[in-house]
Symmetry: C2
Subunit: 366 residues, 2 copies
């Protein structure tokens, strides 16, 4: 499945992580983003590209971010404002900054609250795209906390029984540390596939599989074979996780609704009452593990839990059973060594952008 | 779908809610459960039966609870012990009490913490079956809070790519209030269908549908037609929400893992490192809404949000689009008036149990 969305080895250009990171930082700084925030933004994108979450790495997202800055749709120098605060909670106005910059700042607030009181949660309104929300959840996990991160908004998902897209793909991320095992890290859209995967498929010229989108009248397409290009515009009507009512799509639809409630209704962000297409909000939370049980006990139990899952006898046609975060960890090890595979078209975009912005192009140097 | 699991009207015996409630209370008291806790236990069961969550009402659960008390596997008079506590968190030892009694008590603690500090979360170890976890989440929602409740344990779900059941059905519940709209209330297993539905199907003599269970070798059964009786024992290998990797079963598997982590690893309950079949833990949490935004603003936005979802144009073959909690609200209205439909076999069980315990049998009186 992962391979399904990856750039084929035959055409992939492998770039060194350090070169890619430096280039991203410089692009953000050319967008008038301060150095510290440019470093954070690059770190969020590199997190995705290193872990194989190509939907949320530079290929799909960076050019959209650059375009938004160029069109003055994003504030490159946001000053986060705390609208409301208690010991454990805060609502933050993101000052129209990019979410990959505002969410880590909000998570820092949540972590500090959790450090003092056991738990912390922050909702963020007036903020742009959140990137791979697993990044924000992992910030907490690295501090021996449990991390949650979600982002809601947009109309990409058709509710169960519905014929109109009403909810976003609304990803949920959850991260927790182990001792010897790699971190447990879940980060996934509550549609059957991430929205950006449709963009990847378009670039790769591949058709949609059964259960991913509805037909134009809302009926779940359980046959597949449709092309990612959609008559009605760039966004397909994606099916909730579960695809059909019989397979549990009402659960994917409900989980996506929970994301809208926590990110949007609970942040006071605009447009969540009418499900306006442009609405957006984020939610991050941290639970300090040793506010419950000793962190070392938790992490050792996690080692057993994750190790037992990995040791599950595999079904025919499969080598082994994975757990969330394990393949991403393994991909990161490989890509750190061998480089990040980019589509030649993406490399060309970098070349053009670097020339335009006056940044030395080093991606393909040895 | 709901009808699929319901007792056919032609054979259903409709009983008055007040009669059923009084009978349940008396049965619990005969089990040596104190009056106050017996009232709570009956309220949790009635919550399920009134809302049409028949999997977690008297038909499936009550006889199992009675059997466990009779076999001395449950403590009828548990004294909850707080093992660890901070301003916002607690770990509770349930003293081997039934979860439908310990979870509401734990949620009271979480609500009190949220009232003072904005958030509260309590994990529960050494506790029996949690019942319909939506009940516990709703306790918070009725206090203008967001409520979470989960219960983890047991081996019913086969992980993606696996050939052995490793995780429970691991339900997640989430509740939030609206102003004029019925509460948003999600409560669902992270398998494609609730485990108890297999028991209901057995009683109703109906086959399994595609995507619900795996074959004996772990391969997802996407054909259906198998009988609920399983050669290997009473528990089938159920598929995670998403059914197959292509449809997103790794997400249902991950969500179920999160439930095990929060309920089990974070509560210090026994057996979560080895995924022992008998392991069990619960998790409840409350977020006070006005620690974020004014509760009235939240509830009015919820009205718009839920109303907009309801107003979604329906797909062919469907009258309307629902949201989580709406059908349950409507069922409760009908059943409060017309009675709760029970299978004659269940009524017979009540008759026998009442005779045995010396309780007057009033279920079928007018």
């Amino acid at each position: 499945m992962l391979e399904h969305f990856q750039v084929p080895d035959s055409i992939a250009v492998r770039v060194k992580p350090a070169h890619l990171r430096a280039t991203i930082e410089q692009i953000f700084m050319k967008m008038n983003v301060p150095k510290t925030e440019a470093v954070t933004a690059a770190d969020v994108l590199m997190f995705a590209d290193l872990k194989g979450v190509d939907t949320h790495g530079v290929s799909n997202m960076l050019r959209a971010y650059v375009q938004a800055y160029n069109e003055k749709r994003l504030n490159p120098r946001p000053k986060l404002k705390i609208v409301k605060e208690t010991e454990t909670t805060a609502v933050v106005d993101g000052d129209n900054g990019l979410g990959i910059i505002t969410c880590p700042q909000a998570m820092e607030i949540a972590i500090e609250k959790a450090r003092r009181y056991g738990m912390g949660a922050v909702t963020i309104n007036n903020s742009g795209h959140a990137g791979a929300v697993g990044y924000h959840a992992m910030m907490a996990a690295k501090q021996d906390m449990i991390g949650w991160a979600m982002t809601g908004g947009g109309n990409a998902m058709v509710p169960t029984f519905g014929a109109e897209a009403r909810l976003g793909t609304n990803p949920i991320a959850f991260a927790a540390p182990a001792s010897k095992e790699p971190f447990f890290l879940f980060d996934a859209a509550m549609t059957t596939i991430a929205g950006n995967k449709i963009g990847l498929l378009r670039r790769l010229g591949r058709p949609l599989e059964p259960g991913w989108v509805s037909l134009a009248d809302g009926t779940p397409d359980m046959t597949g074979g449709q092309q990612p290009e959609f008559e009605a515009g760039s966004v397909r009507m994606q099916l909730p996780l579960g695809s059909t009512r019989e397979l549990g799509s009402h659960k994917g639809y409900a989980l996506a609704s929970i994301v809208d409630i926590l990110c949007g209704v609970l942040s006071g962000a605009a447009g969540f009452d009418t499900l306006d297409r442009s609405r957006r909000g984020h939610f991050v939370a941290a639970y300090r593990i040793d506010a419950f049980i000793p962190a070392e006990q938790f992490k050792q139990t996690m080692d057993g839990f994750l190790g037992t899952l990995r040791a599950t006898k595999p079904a025919p046609g499969h080598d082994r059973v994975l757990y969330p975060g394990l393949p991403e960890y393994e991909t990161e090890k490989v890509r750190s060594q061998k480089g990040i595979p980019l589509h030649p078209e993406v490399v060309e975009w970098f070349k053009g952008s670097c020339a335009e912005l006056g940044i030395p192009f080093k991606l393909t140097s040895k």
